[in-house]
């Protein structure tokens, strides 16, 4: 899909999202907030996986870190509008520090290392105890706002995060860094030879990815008012993001957003009828996506048109 088409689609979606709270009830407000949240997670993965080609399966670690940073910050007395940026900062910092050893690993190794990192972070939070609440979980201070107002604020905050994240990806798609990342995705050695500082580019990409994921992690903690390690560091968060990214088309600007919307909306319709076998359906859906639309819906749709008009195609990893 060409850039202008993606832009038009994005504008229509944004207008709909801005108008939605006036028309929908609490249930759909919550569903849409979840869509935006996963949209950001998917965009975060898009940066590191779709652009840089590093398969961060355990990117949920930044979601958990963001949630815990915001949660701990708020229990220590920070207002939410400082706690969430702090969460972003902490997640970004962790990515910067861990990026140096971990991003030296390629392919499968990096994917597993991020999953292991997620497991270790879970253990670490439990073992630290004290201010993190350990295994018992961490209750956040209640907001004084009435629930309806609060949920609207969270809705718009998540939407803002999604718009910001998509904006960053749009910028990335035409920036020097974006070209460097795509070059190193296709051939790391080749990019190095062409003068790309691959180490710097990779670490920057992971930091951007962590910042996005950490931001929604922090907002999510504020939304839930109670967090515990099992749900905050749940690998299925990044796995869902992954499927959404694959579904929409990785390496595209709005693919992950569309994937998130489709997956979450269809999922919500299906899940509610089959509460016991979520994962069975989720697993079957993952397999179906991989077999049938491995390059994502945006790409599959654009293939329906004559090839001459097709824009830049997201290359496979």
């Amino acid at each position: 899909m060409s850039d202008t088409r993606q832009l038009v689609l994005a504008a229509v979606l944004l207008a709909a999202a801005l108008a939605a709270p006036a028309f929908v009830g609490n249930y759909w407000l919550r569903v849409l907030t979840t869509v935006f949240m996963f949209g950001v997670v998917a965009q975060g993965l898009n940066v590191i996986v779709g652009f840089a080609g590093y398969h961060a399966f355990g990117n949920s670690v930044f979601f958990g870190i963001g949630a815990y940073a915001a949660g701990v910050g708020m229990t220590l007395g920070l207002p939410v509008w400082i706690a969430v940026p702090v969460a972003v900062l902490v997640a970004t910092l962790v990515a910067a520090i861990l990026g140096w050893p971990l991003l030296r690993l390629r392919g499968h190794y990096f994917a597993i290392a991020t999953v292991a990192l997620n497991a270790a972070a879970t253990e670490a939070i439990i073992n630290i105890g004290g201010v993190t609440g350990g295994a018992q979980g961490l209750p956040l201070p209640f907001s004084a706002l009435p629930p309806t107002t609060l949920y609207r604020i969270i809705y718009f905050a998540m939407l803002a995060a999604l718009v910001l994240a998509t904006g960053v990806v749009f910028w990335l798609s035409r920036s020097r860094l974006g070209y460097a990342l795509r070059a190193l995705r296709d051939s790391e050695d080749g990019a190095e030879v062409m003068g790309v500082d691959t180490v710097r580019a990779k670490i920057l990409a992971w930091m951007i990815s962590a910042a996005m994921t950490g931001a929604v992690g922090g907002l999510w903690a504020y939304w839930l008012t109670f967090i515990e390690v099992g749900t905050a560091f749940d690998v299925s968060i990044s796995v869902r993001g992954y499927i959404m990214m694959l579904l929409g088309g990785m390496g595209t600007v709005i693919g992950p957003v569309i994937g998130a919307a489709l997956f979450q909306l269809v999922g919500d319709a299906i899940w509610s009828h089959f509460s016991g076998i979520h994962n069975l359906l989720l697993g079957a859906l993952v397999m179906a996506v991989v077999l049938m639309v491995p390059r994502g819906l945006l790409d599959s749709l654009s293939r329906l048109r004559p090839p001459a008009r097709r824009g830049r195609r997201p290359a496979e990893a």
Binding site: V49, H55, F57, P101, L102, R104, L105, G107, H108, Y109, A111, I112, A113, A116, L117, A119, A120, E123, A124, I126, N127, V239, Y242, I243, L246, G276, I277, H278, N279, L280, L282, G283, A284, L285, V286, M287, V289, V290, L291, P294, E316, A317
Partner: protein, 289 residues
Amino acid sequence: MLAQTFVNGLLLGGVYGVATIGFSMVWGVMSIINLAHGAYIMMGAYLAYLMAARLGIDPFLSMPLVMAALFCVGFAVQSLLLNPVMRTSVLLTLAMTFGLDLFLVDVFVALFTSDIRSVNTSYSSEALAIGPVLVSYVRLAAALLSLALAGLLYLVLTRTRLGQAILATALDREAARLMGIVPERIYGYTAGIGAALAGAAGSLASTLFPISPGLGNSFIGAVFVITVLGGIGSVTGAVAAGFVYALIQSFAASYLGVNYQEIVAFGLFLVILVVRPQGLFGKRFFGEV
């Protein structure tokens, strides 16, 4: 205490080794990280449990049947789901096996609920006393059988035409094709053997651990670390690393506390990945035996 910890680690190591060999071989030969390997182990454990509970067949005796069943599963999964996406990208096979794992685990939750089950044999609680150290017969048998299986696989890979074909395909897929080998079929056999070994590990695990649909997931972390530790695709490496890992885990659990098991394992993993990505014993040669 020291001696007992050592023996416990050693006995567990064999099972870890068998749980890892299949995974490591599949990774080495086909570049597939089979995230459903844990689910295969779990399926093996349930099959062994069913045969013991319904038909009264001892898990050690039903193992060949379990392995045969899992071979078919592995072969079918490879042919139907994985071969079609092998060419495109590394990531897709990973996503595919992840989906498969979610699917299989939930199928077993639906069939058997999440209740914990166990296989009890007449000799379950008996142990051989060597001085102050107790050696459980079941664990000893499991460890010895593990070594026997590893030895058997080593012979299959080095001495049979199928084994040679698997190694050849791992080394150079296109050259193997020119020699009249059909890579897709070899991939099917490799995946089948990998699944069969997972089934064997599941059989052994059913005699040692409580059985639940989550059983495989408790193994998969260890399997990853051992694979990398032993060198990807190396059978002997996986066995040796299984022992090393089990010893480290058993000492970490008894001296630092069970909570630190995973952190120690992760730390070890990270250090190996960064310092010696080819594994402790391995060379950078996939499909090595």
